[in-house]
Amino acid sequence: MSARVHSAPFDLAAELAGFGSGAGAIVTFTGVVRDDTGALAALEIEHYPGMTERALSDYGRQAAERFALTDWRIVHRHGRLPVGDQIMMVATAARHRHAAFQAADYLMDWLKSRAPFWKREIGHDGAARWVDAKASDEDALARW
């Protein structure tokens, strides 16, 4: 049960070593820098040091309580992440699969819209553009 924020890459396998002992169901979500247009070189992710760790821990604890998780983990990177790099992961462990799935989905909705990260797209031409928040992410959060 932990949340971490750092710029270094993470290793999903290492994160899952010993994770969720005693659980019947483990779900992971990994977000990867994706280039849809061929123009993207990297994402730059800014965050709010101090608040970020606090917010992620709060959301993890809320998910654990709501979905009776036996374990959870959140890892989120910041800084410059080239296309293909892992951005973040959540892992949830529960007795049953629906709880594990729902908790991972819930955490993603909170991370998308309520964790203090801001993404900027950096093109191959050097141009930088802040990524707009999506109304659909806000709507997704309203489900819970």
Binding site: E46, Y48, M88, L111, K112, R114, A115, K119
Partner: protein
């Protein structure tokens, strides 16, 4: 009251600094914004559309009408794009 005011993402860019120390008599976030917007054109431009602004008081997400009370640190930023 003395506050540390922090800016992130394009708010930081428009205002031209990541943080500043502010003396204010504001009692709510909204009052504080009015104080800040009156400082100069850059502040005024950054705060021109409040629907695009989110905030945190002492590192907890807050509304524009949240009281400042004994706050030490207030942050302004655009809607978050994590995950």
């Amino acid at each position: 009251m003395t506050l540390d005011v922090l800016y992130f993402a394009w708010l930081r860019e428009r205002i031209g600094q990541p943080r500043e120390r502010v003396e204010t008599a504001a009692t709510t976030v909204r009052d504080l914004i009015a104080d800040l917007a009156a400082r100069d054109d850059w502040h005024a431009a950054a705060f021109s559309d409040l629907s695009a602004i989110r905030c945190a008081v002492d590192q907890q997400l807050a509304d524009l009408d949240s009281p400042l009370a004994d706050a030490r640190e207030v942050a302004f930023f655009p809607p978050m794009t994590g995950g």
